[in-house]
């Protein structure tokens, strides 16, 4: 599936629920599927700044695709990271850099997931794209 196909799938998953509590429960459930970061990488180096809760994000690059593992100490934040990883993990650096994320606005949790709510969403996306750019630059050098 392309990045946008995954985004559309997420929007569809959330559209089943009318009530915000059900939407949150879904988000919490999705947090359980998060590919967890190896505890040894839960260090300051992989901590994302700008979140009220802690988020660790660890990138790996196999020369073609970038994959991410992560964790957070808050459950809702873990759900948000899980969604981002579902969309952006195991993609080429170019795909990640070119991606435009629209699912956040369309799953009905916008008020709570907007960047101003200090949930660190913006910082997470920025960090994912920065890793992608770094790997892209690295492949060019090789």
């Amino acid at each position: 599936m392309t990045i946008n196909q995954v985004q559309d799938k997420i929007i569809e998953d959330f559209s089943v629920f009318e009530d915000w509590i059900d939407k949150y429960n879904l988000l919490i459930d999705m947090g359980r599927d998060l590919p967890l970061i190896d505890p040894k990488h839960k260090t300051k180096d992989y901590l994302i700044e700008g979140c009220q809760s802690k988020v660790w994000l660890y990138p790996e690059f196999n020369g073609h695709n970038v994959t991410f593992t992560a964790d957070s100490d808050a459950i809702i934040t873990r759900g948000i990271v899980a969604l981002l990883i579902r969309v952006l993990s195991d993609r080429t650096p170019d795909e990640i850099i070119a991606s435009e994320l629209y699912f956040i606005d369309r799953i009905g949790l916008r008020q709570n997931l907007s960047p101003t709510r200090s949930n660190g969403l913006l910082s997470m996306v920025r960090q994912i794209k920065l890793y992608a750019m770094a790997y892209k630059a690295k492949t060019k050098q090789l």
Binding site: W20, I21, Y24, N25, I28, Q52, S53, K54, D73, A74, I75, I76, T77, Q111, N112, N119
Partner: protein, 406 residues
């Protein structure tokens, strides 16, 4: 006396909804809502007599200047200061403390001197002193707290020495709600001729703030936490200190004569009010103080005491809820955590139910470190809150637990 529904009707924001539910506003420690009279007072400045103060010869400037000075008199009377000249308008508590820290440091602090603060301080009563200490080679000493969130008075006594040049402590902890024994702190410091600054940001709106009976040397607070507008605050300073201290900022209105060789400063309080002041904010603050007096400070105190009693009882009954700050002397703040649930998760779900609380460190990271936690959920109540709202908070918290405890 007004009924609770009459009081609530005075505050337009309280009747609104969020996410289709009635707003339960429990973030009064961060900022309070404004009664109609304050909104009208500020509105009235801009619609009928807006004009710069202390400058014009014209009619509107006269009215604005007079209203601004009336507001100063209202503040003086409210905190029972001896003279109007001892009341300085600032942008807020943070501005007030920065200003005093700078001026006091310039005038009195030498390398090796010490300033005492407590472990309960808001960052606004830590960082300005750290900056000043760094500049002057002075040292910051900290009064420790016990597990209930009270300062350990014996440790305070041990910190006082001939090196101590100032004690700066909060009247009430913003993170835990603890009321500090400021009278005893001041008396003890004064016995060694050490001046004391009291940070009244969380104290002035809950009960009495009488600078004459406290005998503090400086008292600071913000307008927006006592039902007034944002961007206005107060320094009260005893005349002796304000006369001796150099001004923090230079500019218009604070001067007497200016030549390129030398400037002489205006008299008090104008020496500390450089540039165009937030006169609309000051006038709004005056109106807020009138409002508080119309409700009655004793009434506010007893209503809030009852709210604290009920909230403590209601929330303590919730399984897995731990309250931080359990002193017997507290204002109506409940800082808590639910076991195994992050404060951010709790705050987000409560918000969706229309309940506004604050989560995080509350600009008091050392307090959080003291308890080995990264933050709390803080419900801060004031006299316009109701028992029903506390019940809604309780039900909300129970809902949070059921959502995350799966």
């Amino acid at each position: 006396m007004k009924t609770i529904s009459e009081i609530r009707a005075d505050f337009p924001v309280l009747s609104r909804q969020v996410y289709g539910r009635p707003l339960v506003y429990l973030d009064n420690g961060a900022t309070t809502q404004k009664p109609r009279c304050v909104i009208d007072a500020v509105n009235n400045v801009y619609t009928t007599y807006n004009s710069n103060i202390h400058r014009g010869v014209h009619a509107l400037s006269d009215i604005a200047s007079e209203e601004y000075e009336n507001a100063r008199e209202k503040v003086r009377s409210f905190i029972n200061a001896a003279k109007k000249e001892e009341i300085i308008f600032t942008p807020g508590t943070t501005g007030s403390i920065n200003s005093i820290a700078f001026s006091f440091g310039e005038r009195y602090i030498r390398p090796g001197d010490e300033i005492i603060i407590s472990h309960l301080e808001h960052h606004a009563n830590i960082v300005p002193w750290q900056m000043m200490c760094e500049r002057k080679g002075a040292r910051l000493r900290i009064i420790p707290i016990d597990d209930t969130g009270e300062i350990i008075f014996d440790e305070y006594l041990k910190l006082l020495s001939e090196k101590t040049k100032l004690v700066s402590v909060t009247q009430v902890s913003n993170a835990l709600g603890t009321v500090l024994p400021v009278r005893e702190i001041i008396d003890t410091a004064h016995s060694g001729n050490i001046p004391v600054l009291i940070d009244g940001a969380q104290g002035v709106q809950h009960g009495t703030a009488d600078v004459a009976s406290m005998d503090c040397d400086f008292y600071v607070f913000s307008g927006h936490k006592i039902y007034g507008p944002t961007g206005i605050g107060i320094i009260y300073g005893k005349e002796k200190w304000l006369t001796e201290l150099p001004p923090y900022q230079g500019g218009g209105d604070m001067v007497d004569t200016v030549t390129f060789e030398k400037t002489t400063y205006n008299e008090l309080p104008f020496k500390f009010e450089a540039g165009t002041m937030n006169f609309a904010g000051a006038i709004g603050l005056g109106s807020a103080l009138d409002y508080v007096l119309s409700i009655g400070r004793e009434n506010i105190e007893s209503m809030e005491k009852e709210l604290l009693r009920y909230a403590t009882e209601r929330l303590s009954g919730i399984r897995g809820l731990r309250v931080y700050g359990t002193s017997g002397r507290k204002i109506a703040i409940i800082s808590f955590l639910l076991s195994n649930i992050h404060q951010y998760d709790t705050g987000l779900i409560l918000d969706k139910m229309g309940i506004a609380v604050r989560t995080g460190t509350h600009c008091a990271q050392p307090v959080m470190s003291r308890y080995g936690i990264e933050g709390t959920v803080r419900a801060s109540l004031c006299f316009y809150n109701t028992m029903e709202e506390i019940d809604m908070l309780g039900t909300g918290i129970e809902k949070v637990i059921s959502m995350f405890e799966k």
